[in-house]
Symmetry: C2
Subunit: 190 residues, 2 copies
């Protein structure tokens, strides 16, 4: 079976995001976010995972991690990890991500945000988005770090994915876990 061509990208956003007091901040990059989201991305056929941060020190840190796994010792002892981290791209801002994805796919992707509380207008079902993906439409999924994507980002996207929930009200997944579940729902083998 030939795998279908999927045009899905992820962006893990470190600015602009909210802190617990709803102020807009630049969050710090977490090493394991890169690993877990790249591994899940590669497993489910994501093309690129964009790490979005305007902070040059943080960009330098991401660059060092990627070097370790692409040309350094890490990639030699664990080639599967090298392959996963190979999907990561750095971007100063979301505008750069939109531009890169548009150039790559030849059309602007549909930009969907994920959040733990999304409801109402603009929320699309996982089934509907899965159908869009498997019909070949480019999709860019945004994930926020810290306390989530800032309101200015949320207001500018094309739509939202419903929150990932269990049977109870408590809902505090890590962004790594939420991303894995979202990818399984949209791209998992059935």
């Amino acid at each position: 079976m030939t795998a279908p061509t999927l045009k899905v990208d992820l962006a893990l956003v470190h600015y602009p995001v909210s802190n617990k007091n709803r102020e807009t901040i630049v969050s710090a990059v977490t090493n394991l976010d890169l690993h877990d989201m790249a591994r899940a991305g590669r497993t489910f056929g994501v093309d690129n995972l964009f790490i979005v941060t305007p902070n040059s020190d943080q960009q330098h840190l991401v660059g060092e991690i990627l070097d370790h796994w692409s040309t350094g010792h890490g990639g030699k002892v664990n080639p599967d990890r090298k392959e996963a981290l190979g999907i990561i791209r750095l971007s100063d801002d979301l505008a750069g991500v939109y531009e890169a994805a548009t150039q790559k796919w030849g059309e602007r992707p549909t930009v969907l945000a994920t959040c733990a509380r999304c409801q109402g207008d603009g929320v699309q079902s996982y089934e509907a988005v899965r159908e869009q993906i498997f019909s070949g439409q480019p999709i860019l999924l945004l994930f926020g770090t810290a306390w989530g994507l800032s309101s200015e980002v949320m207001q500018a996207v094309d739509g939202f994915l419903p929150p990932v929930c269990g049977q109870m009200e408590y809902n505090h997944l890590s962004v790594r876990s939420a991303a894995a579940i979202v990818l399984d729902r949209l791209l998992g083998k059935r």
Copy 2:
């Protein structure tokens, strides 16, 4: 709506597990495994997450992490995290986990292992296990660290869950991501 009573426990196994040369080892505890799996567990209604390690230094480390989030500073600044980590229990070995779960539920739980390559006899569908759970049967899900549960563990379980896959052959999820996806498939709100 009253949430159904779910009798689901997780065990994250650090011994006996395999290394990349298929030798049986004790793996080291990863702090973020505890956080991510407890958060996903609490979100999806898991009763306990058992951390299995016979190593007293590692048990001490887990104890310190739990103290920080139960009675220490962590729990004060982030009560949601305190609630999540409250589902964690330590166990020397899998026998202790089986005993604790059996005592709690009044019957021995069905023990299911997860792995990235399971196939053939004993593999149960997610749908079938979901039905068992929602009919009130106690289920214990085993997750291996390092290169996975050792063959002696795999031979002694009641069954297996199918591997979590995308559309291609590459499949190298972190145990944190795999656990989140498995819980969503078995317990997620639909």
